[in-house]
């Protein structure tokens, strides 16, 4: 099994439970193929660096898991069909992974913080530019 992480962006005008439904569908696909979900992080509404399908904001969801290549192909197919998903990115973290060890590591490590929102800084730079 390989370890992957997937980030996908959902349209901002979508209700929370619908986002959960999309996430649930993806995780069910992974687990259906014998994969293991390590963590799901909801980064919340973030400003996009550029417009995607005419949206300037999006909900980021991060999933860290171990799975087989076929399940990655399947969830990416689902994302492509789903209009609510703006964009997705899957990165392979390692070619082989021992789920027990990863779980142990994650338990020992500090809970990973949601990446800092850049909005505060951006606003500062915006005002600087205007001056």
């Amino acid at each position: 099994m390989r370890r992957y992480e997937t980030i996908f962006i959902v349209r901002p005008n979508i209700a929370e439970d619908e986002i959960e439904a999309i996430t649930g569908k993806a995780t069910a696909t992974i687990e259906g193929d014998g994969g293991i979900i390590f963590r799901i992080n909801n980064w919340g509404l973030k400003k996009l660096a550029y417009l995607i399908k005419k949206e300037s904001q999006g909900y980021y969801v991060y999933v860290d898991y171990a799975g087989v290549p076929a399940s990655v192909a399947e969830i990416e197919r689902i994302f492509r069909i789903d209009d609510r998903v703006l964009k997705y990115l899957t990165v392979k973290l390692s070619d082989s992974c021992d789920p027990e060890k990863v779980k142990e590591q994650l338990a020992n490590a500090e809970p990973e913080a949601v990446p800092d929102d850049e909005n505060i800084e951006d606003e500062e730079s915006e005002t600087a530019n205007e001056e």
């Binding site: 660096a49 550029y50 999006g58 990115l89």
Partner: protein, 79 residues
């Protein structure tokens, strides 16, 4: 003929080699921000003296961050 003036540039050290706690991760935009211009262009390694290995990892990370809209392909972040 005046003797050639030799200017020795200050030895720059790769920031990531010097500080092992700095991790290059495409999800950590805060670190990556330091290595792009205001317009979002990747700054060449000769400016900050990054080593080849870390510069390579850095560019890969920035390009991944661009794909998932954490960083702009061009232009400042505000729209």
């Amino acid at each position: 003929m005046a003797p050639k003036k030799r200017i020795f540039p200050r030895q720059k050290v790769c920031r990531f080699c010097a500080d092992k706690s700095l991790v290059i991760d495409y999800k950590e935009v805060r670190t990556l921000r330091n290595f792009v211009t205001e317009r979002g262009k990747i700054i060449p390694q000769r400016i900050y003296g990054n080593c080849a290995r870390h510069q390579r990892k850095l560019t890969d990370a920035i390009k991944k961050a661009r794909q998932i809209a954490l960083m702009p392909y061009s232009g400042p972040t505000q729209l």
